[in-house]
């Protein structure tokens, strides 16, 4: 990329659609708003009750006093539900033109045609499109939006929903439980191996909007699935909120790969709760990319409940001007012979701040557990900041717990070498940063890895000279 091209790089997802939804609730949160959401979705009574209970818990719980600055978040100024279309489509021709154009700009339908087993696309509060290729439908794989799943497979959803992230887990999980809409449901039957990824794409379009999707993934014994999700929003001068909940169940000897690249504009508060449960011999691989947002507070957790379960978390956070990424990972070892690895890479540029906040806990009785975490932070200028806040708790003496963290800057001799080979300073910096994040980029599907490199260049625009 030439210097001119580099400097021209813009937030490509900063486009706004002039779109009129079919229904939206007024701003602010109340029992009436919660009831309205539930009524529009014609939900069963048990779910209505959960929503009202969650609202009360949300109102009782205090805002977190740690992490990032949440003082600018005004819950009364948020719109909690916007229904974009009358019905969900399973064919792009049925999707309203404006929304279809938006997803086409984001490259979503093309990716579906070329690389994916299934795709769900959420616009504002609802999934507007979902489709699963026939090959996987025949094998009993379920892939749809969560509201449809509640109607089609009520017992299955009821069994799992909220069992891993309870309503009262934290203030934002309570908020999500009260006003959730949209989100994806994935169910993979026993021994079925979905060999190509399923993808969901979440797009926030409106101002002062809250997106509260809820995702539930269940992989039965011996099955395998890879789920990828991406998120974007246009830039506004006013703030938006994204408070999702994700629950992932990896049954014995199953394998789940969960990949998420969140690329929010810098007016979004991204406050999500994501958790996976790994049973005996199960493997959960988690790849977590965090870009943009005003503040992200996100600490995905893997609970290793069964003997020999394995958790792997690769986390990348990039914070630029006015952004604070308070992201991390949690590994909870409850059974013996479990193992886990956390690799966290962060880049702070133009006054951005990245904080890694992690927890590794080995419970008494989780014998011969092995866990390693590694956090590397790259500071690109003297205005930026990097922190690490790990907690390592070993209640089992046979556990081997390791952690290391380092903070770097790009060395002049590295830049000098690359410049002596004909690269500009920007190109050299960009190449070094891409090398730094390579352990994470190489685990991504090709089109996401390319997007990642583009995003890194974008976040660094203006950081040099």
């Amino acid at each position: 990329m030439s210097r001119q091209e580099f400097n021209k790089t813009k937030y490509a997802h900063n486009f706004y659609d002039d779109f009129k939804p079919v229904y939206s609730v007024p701003r602010g949160l109340s029992a009436k708003v919660v009831d309205t959401i539930s009524s529009i979705k014609t939900e069963p009574t048990w779910l209505k009750k959960i929503r009202q209970q969650a609202l009360k818990i949300f109102q009782q719980k205090k805002m977190p006093s740690w992490g990032g600055d949440l003082s600018g978040l005004n819950f009364d100024n948020i719109q909690y539900y916007i229904k974009p279309t009358e019905r969900q489509a399973s064919n792009w021709q049925q999707v309203p033109l404006v929304i279809k154009k938006a997803f086409t700009k984001l490259g979503v339908p093309q990716a579906e045609a070329n690389f994916l087993a299934g795709l769900g696309a959420q616009y504002e509060s609802e999934v507007v499109y979902s489709n699963l290729k026939e090959e996987w439908q025949r094998q009993g794989v379920l892939f749809c939006d969560l509201s449809s799943a509640i109607k089609l497979y009520p017992e299955l959803v009821k069994k799992y929903l909220g069992s891993l992230v309870p309503i009262a887990d934290n203030k934002f999980s309570a908020l999500n439980s009260a006003v959730w809409s949209g989100g994806i449901f994935v169910y993979v039957p026993q021994n079925v191996k979905v060999t190509i990824p399923l993808q969901a794409y979440f797009r926030l379009n409106a101002k002062n909007m809250g997106q509260f999707e809820r995702t539930l993934i269940i992989a039965e014994k011996g099955s395998q699935v890879s789920y990828v999700e991406g998120c974007t929003a246009p830039k506004y001068a006013v703030d938006s909120l994204h408070a999702a909940v994700v629950e992932i169940f990896a049954k014995p000897y199953s394998r789940i790969r969960y990949t998420t690249i969140q690329n929010w504009s810098n007016n979004v508060y991204n406050l999500v709760t994501k958790r996976a449960l790994a049973e005996e011999g199960a493997v959960v691989e988690w790849i977590d990319g965090n870009f943009g947002s005003k503040l992200t507070m996100k600490y995905p957790a893997i609970i290793l409940k069964g003997k020999g379960a394995k958790g792997d978390m690769l986390s990348l956070a990039v914070a630029s001007k006015g952004q604070h990424q308070d992201a991390g990972a949690k590994m909870i070892h409850l059974a013996h012979d479990t193992s886990s690895r956390i690799i966290s890479k962060s880049v702070s540029v133009l006054g951005g701040r990245v904080s890694f906040r992690g927890l590794v806990k080995v419970a008494k009785g989780a014998k011969n557990t092995k866990t390693k975490s590694q956090c590397d932070a790259l500071l690109l200028d003297d205005k930026s900041r990097a922190d690490t806040y790990p907690t390592l708790q070993a209640d089992e003496p046979t556990a081997q717990v390791e952690h290391e963290a380092s903070v770097f800057k790009i060395q002049q001799d590295q830049l000098f070498y690359l410049q002596s080979r004909g690269l500009s300073e920007e190109e050299a910096t960009s190449m070094i940063v891409n090398g730094f994040i390579e352990p994470i980029a190489r685990e991504l599907p090709m089109e996401y890895a390319l997007e990642l490199n583009r995003l890194i260049k974008l976040e660094m625009t203006g950081s040099i000279g």
């Binding site: 008494k364 932070a377 500071l379 690109l380 200028d381 003297d382 930026s384 900041r385 990097a386 922190d387 690490t388 806040y389 790990p390 907690t391 390592l392 708790q393 070993a394 209640d395 003496p397 046979t398 556990a399 081997q400 717990v401 390791e402 952690h403 290391e404 963290a405 380092s406 903070v407 800057k409």
Partner: protein, 227 residues
């Protein structure tokens, strides 16, 4: 270099130390105590140097909070902490190491060996301020868990506000390495001797040069090993 030796049970509640401009101090706090709550503040002025040792054993209930402030340019602090816990000992450490000026240097080495039901908690904050360009800091926290009911919690924290610094930390906890024990046994040592040798080397790098203190610690280590 000024040397200070302080027995732990002679310190009541608060302690403070000012390492004046250009001074070098070697400070060793050591020993046992039944119960102690200590708050300490150690300040280093320009071009000063501190070698600080906190060597603890037989402390049933211990709560230590200490701030190390590297206020002046070119200050150098080497902080070594050894905590031997046994029975139902409970140790709580709250350490704050702050680089405030240019070209400051610190090493914080923390070693713990826990027998029986000993329980140890530590939070070690390493903060490098905006104006502390050229600083170099490393924090190492290692624990050997020997007792079947021993526990440890470590919170090694980095807060880095300047990009022209070197800062890193590492924390490890677990049993003695089976492979290392096997190697030493293959060289003719019995298991007890092999473990003892490994523990000696585990703490060896952070002990002061003072033979009297080293002997005291080794005796204590042997007496724990016999249990």
């Amino acid at each position: 270099m000024n040397k200070k030796f302080l027995k732990l049970d002679t310190i009541k509640n608060n302690f403070g130390m000012y390492v004046k401009k250009g001074d070098s101090i070697n400070c060793i706090i050591y020993g046992a105590t039944k119960s102690n709550e200590l708050q300490g503040k150690i300040v280093l002025q320009k071009n000063s140097k501190l070698n600080f040792y906190l060597l603890l054993w037989q402390c049933q209930n211990l709560n230590i909070k200490t701030d190390f402030l590297l206020l002046g340019q070119n200050t150098k602090a080497e902080i070594n902490i050894l905590s031997l816990g046994s029975n139902q000992d409970k140790h709580h450490f709250d350490l704050y190491l702050n680089h405030q000026d240019k070209n400051t240097y610190s090493r914080l080495n923390f070693r713990r060996i826990l027998w029986q039901q000993a329980d140890s908690y530590s939070q070690e904050i390493l903060k490098i301020d905006k104006g502390a360009s050229g600083s170099d800091a490393y924090l190492s926290d290692k624990t050997v868990l020997i007792g079947n009911n021993s526990k440890v919690i470590s919170k090694p924290i980095l807060e880095i506000l300047n990009d022209k610094v070197k800062a890193s930390h590492s924390a490890i906890s677990g049993r003695l390495s089976e492979q290392e024990i096997f190697y030493l046994k293959s060289r003719g040592l019995d298991e007890k001797r092999a473990k003892s040798l490994l523990l000696d080397s585990f703490i060896g790098e952070i002990l002061p040069a003072d033979k009297g203190i080293v002997n005291l610690i080794k005796q204590r280590l042997n007496s724990y090993a016999k249990r």
